[in-house]
Subunit: 349 residues, 2 copies
DNA sequence: TGTTAGCACTCCACAACAACGAGTGCTAAC
DNA sequence: GTTAGCACTCGTTGTTGTGGAGTGCTAACA
C-alpha cells in the first residue's frame, strides 16, 4: 500500500520531481520544485520533504551536492498512481495495418519503425504466434517423380510448405486418397489434439505411404509449434544514443547487441503470451526486467491478439525516464487497432 | 600503373607503415619504421621517403607533428599489390552449411554470426536470389467455398503461397483443368519469358476464371521478381565500437542504423549480383563504397552461387585499417564452401 | 509546530595552464 | 645518398582553481 506512505504534499512534490526529470534528464533541485509547483513553498521546505522522500526510497541523490533523481520505486509509484492516461488517436496506423494484413512481416517491421520514430525509443514487435491454432487445410501434390509438395494452412492463415522426397511417382488416385485421409483426420484439430492414437490410425490407413504421413506430421508440428523461432522485428536501436545515461559506448553496445541478437528479446515476450489472462500492458522498470542488460532501462510491452489465440507482443525499450504516458498511450492505441483484426476482416467481406 | 611510381624501397616502407597501422590504429612515425623494417635506415632517411610518399598521395598526416596514416590510395595499393593471400581452411563452416541447407534463413544468420565473431567486424549475408529462375510447379487447390490456395514452386525450390478469394466453390473438374492449364503453359518459363501473349492465351482458355489466373500470375511475379525484398542477415554491428576511429557515438550510430535498416545495405549487393561476369571478391575502400555512411570504412563483399543463377552476397564492413588478408581469406573459403552446394547435394543423393 | 531565510559546506563541471613527448622538417656534416 | 642534431609543432595528459548548483543545518519567525 505504497500510496498511504505519502501525504498529498509529498505526492505532489514527488510527481513534480519525476516529471521534471523526465523532461530534462538532469537531477532536479529544491529550488526548481519550489517554482515548478503551485504549492507556494520555499526551497527549504521542499528540501525537508525531499529528505523524507529519499529516506522512504522514492528518490536518490547521485552525489552529495546534486539534486534528486527518481529511484525505481519512485518510477513505479509514478506509473501506478501519478501518471495520467491519455487516449489519443493513432488512426493512420490502424488503417495502415488493416490494409496490408497479407504481408505481415513487412507490416510488423513498419509498425516497429513508425513506433520508434514516434517515440524516440527502441522498439520490438513479435510476429503473431498461433496458440491454440488449428489445422485448416492440407494439400499434397505431385511435383515430379522424386518429390511431392506438402502445403499446410492453419486457421490463422499461416501457410507452410515442405518438399518431401519419394521413390517413384505416386499415382493420382493414391494422392487423392492421402489428401482425403489427412484432411478428414486432422482438419479442425489443434496441435495438442493430434495424439498418438490419431497418428497411428493415420499411418495404418496410409499403408505403404506412412513415411509420407510422418513427414507431413513433422511439418504440421513445425508450423504450429512456433516456440523455437519467434520472429522479432526491431527498430530504433540507435535511439539509445539520444539519452546520455545510456549512450556511453559500453552500455549502448550491450543494448544494441541485445536488439541485434533478437532472440534474446524473446524472454520479454514468452511469459506474457502464454498467460491467458494477460491482455493489458506491462511495465518493467530497471531490474524488474528479465533481461540483465536492460537494468538501466524501462521496458513497456503490450500483448495484441489479432484473433482467437493469435497473439503477439509490441515492446518499447528506453531510459527509465521515458515518457511513460506517451509510450503507454501509443501502445494502447496500437493494441486496440490490432486486436481482433482478423475477425473484423471477416465481417467486412 | 601505380606500381611503377614506387621503387622497391618506397614500397617496403609503405608496406611497413600500413601493416603497422593495421595493427595499432595509431599514426606511425619514422623511428618506428626505421626499427620495424630490415632496411637498416635511420629515421631521418625514412622521413625523407615518407615526405615523398605523402606527396604522391599514399599516406596522410593527421596533423603536423603526428606520424603518418595510409590514405585510401595507400590502402588500395596495399590490397592490390602488397597483401599476401593466405588460403586457410574454414572447413567447419562448410560442413555446417551443407548439413542444414533446408533452413536457409537460420543458416545464413548463423554464417553472419560466425563470420562476425571470427573477424570482429560487422557482417551481412544476403539470402540467395533466384536470377534466371524458372517456374517448376504450380498447384491450385480448393480450401473452402470462399478461398483457393495457390502454391508456386521455382527451380530453386523457393515456394510461395497465396490465398485467393473466390465466389462459390469451384468444382474439381474445373480445378484440374486450371491446374493443367497453368502448368502446361508456365512450367520451365523464366519471369521474362512470360509475356503478354502467354498471359492472353491463358486467360482466354480459363474463360470465366481468368480473374484467378491474374491472381496467380501476380504471385508468380512476386515469387520470382525478388528485387523489392532482398533478405539480408546481419551480425556484429556493435563491433564498430571496437575501433576508436569509428566508435564516437555519431559515426557508430549512423553505421549501426545502416545495419539495422537492412534495406540500405542492398545497394552493396545489387550491382554485383546482376553482373554475370563477377565471380570474385570486391573491395570498397572509403569513398569507393556506394553507401555514404561508410565513407570511413572499408567493405569487402563476395558473391556466392549456390547453383546455376542462384546467387547471394556476403559482406564485411570494418574500419579502413581492417585486416584485409584475414577478411579476404575468410570470404574466399566461405565462398568456396557455398559455391555449387545445390549441385553437390544433387550428386550426393 | 511548521515554515523560511541565511549560511557554510560539498562536489561536480569546466576552463586555463603547464609539462611532456612523439614526431616533424631542415641543416650541416659525413 | 645517408645520418646526426636541433628547433619547432601540436596533441595529450595532468594540475589547479574558480563558479555554481545544491545541500544540510541552524536560528528566527508566524
Amino acid at each position: 500500500m505504497d500510496e498511504f506512505e505519502l501525504d498529498e504534499r509529498k505526492t505532489k512534490i514527488l510527481d513534480a520531481i519525476i516529471r521534471n526529470y523526465l523532461e530534462t534528464g538532469e537531477p532536479v533541485g529544491s529550488r526548481t520544485i519550489s517554482k515548478y509547483t503551485d504549492l507556494n513553498l520555499s526551497s527549504a521546505t521542499i528540501r525537508n520533504e525531499m529528505a523524507d522522500l529519499e529516506e522512504q526510497g522514492y528518490i536518490l541523490q547521485p552525489h552529495t551536492s546534486a539534486g534528486r533523481i527518481p529511484s525505481d520505486k519512485g518510477y513505479r509509484f509514478y506509473v501506478d498512481h501519478l501518471m495520467e492516461e491519455k487516449n489519443r488517436e493513432v488512426s493512420e496506423m490502424k488503417n495502415f495495418v488493416i490494409e496490408h494484413t497479407e504481408k505481415m512481416d513487412q507490416v510488423l517491421q513498419q509498425v516497429a519503425k513508425i513506433l520508434a520514430a514516434n517515440t524516440n525509443y527502441a522498439t520490438m514487435v513479435t510476429a503473431p504466434t498461433y496458440h491454440k491454432n488449428k489445422v485448416k487445410f492440407i494439400q499434397l501434390s505431385n511435383m515430379n517423380e522424386e518429390q511431392i509438395l506438402a502445403t499446410i494452412v492453419t486457421e490463422g492463415n499461416l501457410v507452410k510448405n515442405k518438399i518431401i522426397p519419394v521413390n517413384g511417382e505416386i499415382d493420382n488416385e493414391t494422392m487423392l486418397k492421402l489428401n482425403f485421409l489427412l484432411n478428414a483426420n486432422l482438419n479442425g484439430l489443434a496441435l495438442q489434439e493430434i495424439n498418438l492414437g490419431t497418428i497411428a490410425k493415420l499411418k495404418e490407413q496410409a499403408g505403404i505411404h506412412s513415411a509420407i504421413i510422418s513427414d507431413v506430421l513433422d511439418t504440421v508440428a513445425e508450423t504450429m509449434g512456433q516456440e523455437d523461432d519467434i520472429r522479432i522485428y526491431t527498430s530504433g536501436a540507435t535511439n539509445f544514443f539520444k539519452y546520455p545515461e545510456l549512450s556511453d559506448s559500453e552500455k549502448a553496445s550491450e543494448l544494441i547487441s541485445t536488439f541485434e541478437e533478437k532472440q534474446q528479446l524473446a524472454s520479454l515476450v514468452t511469459e506474457n503470451l502464454l498467460d491467458e489472462e494477460n491482455t493489458g500492458i506491462q511495465v518493467y522498470i530497471g531490474n524488474e526486467s528479465p533481461i540483465q542488460t536492460m537494468r538501466d532501462c524501462s521496458v513497456v510491452t503490450a500483448t495484441y491478439e489479432l484473433g482467437e489465440g493469435v497473439r503477439g507482443t509490441i515492446g518499447i525499450v528506453g531510459p527509465k525516464r521515458m515518457d511513460y504516458e506517451k509510450v503507454m498511450d501509443n501502445l494502447k492505441t496500437l493494441k486496440n487497432s490490432l486486436d481482433g483484426i482478423l475477425d473484423k476482416k471477416k465481417e467486412e467481406t
